[in-house]
């Protein structure tokens, strides 16, 4: 792939706008032994991704696992279960019913957990502070009841929009700083290698 395209993709990568295919193309590029010196500092980032993907069990892993399983089985040979024993239908049903009971209990608890905040006057869930014709909504804030600041959705939208833009600007500032640091790293690399 042309270097200009790679650089354009890298720019996208720093902005977190690359697709999976584009990241694969970048990884492919950085797998080459010869790449421009200024891109050398970035190689590590993509190599790391490759190395992580290539993690495999070492030699003899299967054998060691089988030996351990056999060892555990022979240790427990005198116990309740004998190797190769067929489970009775009753055991299967009992096992299932315990699991079903556990699952039902968890679902019940989660359901109750969800229902309790709904029943109590919550954020826009009814109650004396509910919105209706511009009446302020009671927001259940943790530890204290907080009223909705705006009764007009247009005004609320304007504030949300502004807050999101501020967050966006500051996030991008962080991204630019990261880019600057990488450039600095590259300059240091060049100073060391003389590329």
């Amino acid at each position: 792939m042309e270097q200009s395209k790679i650089r354009a993709l890298l720019d996208k990568y720093w902005k977190a706008e690359t697709s999976v295919e584009e990241e694969r193309a970048l990884a492919e590029f950085f797998r080459q032994p010869e790449i421009p010196g200024d891109l050398e500092p970035v190689r590590g980032l993509f190599q790391w991704r490759e190395e992580e993907a290539e993690l495999r069990p070492g030699a003899g892993f299967d054998r060691r696992m089988l030996e351990r399983i056999e060892g555990m089985e022979s240790e427990g040979g005198g116990g309740e279960r004998v190797r190769g024993e067929v489970m009775s239908v009753g055991m299967v049903v009992r096992g299932f019913s315990i699991r079903f009971a556990a699952a039902a209990a968890i679902i019940l608890c989660l359901g109750i957990g969800l229902l309790i905040p709904m029943i109590s006057p919550g954020p826009g869930q009814g109650g004396p502070g509910s919105a209706g014709g511009g009446v302020p909504v009671a927001e259940v804030a943790p530890a204290a009841a907080v009223k909705d600041t705006y009764t007009d959705p247009n005004k609320a939208l304007a504030v949300v929009r502004r807050a999101l833009l501020v967050a966006s600007v500051r996030l991008n500032e962080g991204n630019h700083i990261t880019q600057r640091n990488i450039t600095r790293l590259h300059d240091s690399w060049q100073a060391v290698t003389g590329d």
């Binding site: 247009n154 609320a156 929009r161 966006s168």
Partner: protein
Amino acid sequence: MNLIKLRTWGLLLSLLLAGRTGFAQDDAIGKFFGKYVDDDRFTVVSISPKMFRLMSKIRWDSVSSDLKETVGKLQSLRILSTSATPMTFYKEALEKIDRKEYEELITVRSKQDNVHFMVKESGNTIHELLMISVGDDGFTLVSFVGDIDLDKLARLSADMGIKGMENLKDVKRK
């Protein structure tokens, strides 16, 4: 048999309590808001899920699709800001944040201020974005709750062609 029943009820009760605690909203940031919501030194903005639902019913002219989608997935917004002893409140907020719940996303340090971005996520979904900033002109804590897409969020300012710090100051004055 009685012992088994007792154990079963004990287990159910603990699960029930766990379920209730899991949905409780008494997190550290919530308590922080609760503590200062009526404090005159603070400017507080709170937008509830109900208001977000009302917002979806108004006209969305001149709003970019990214912004529309981002707002559409938000459930609540809380802003707390003050110009009084900003560093004290900044330290208090940072101390109260449970680092097991909130993961540090990025920290921006500039001459004007420091900004921390923290996220609360489960799986690949960010459920809360917390922005805490402190500078000479004040302390601000912003909490966005909902389904947050950082890619879209980062694109918003680019879409609007906005750069710099001016907007943060505008929000603080609101």
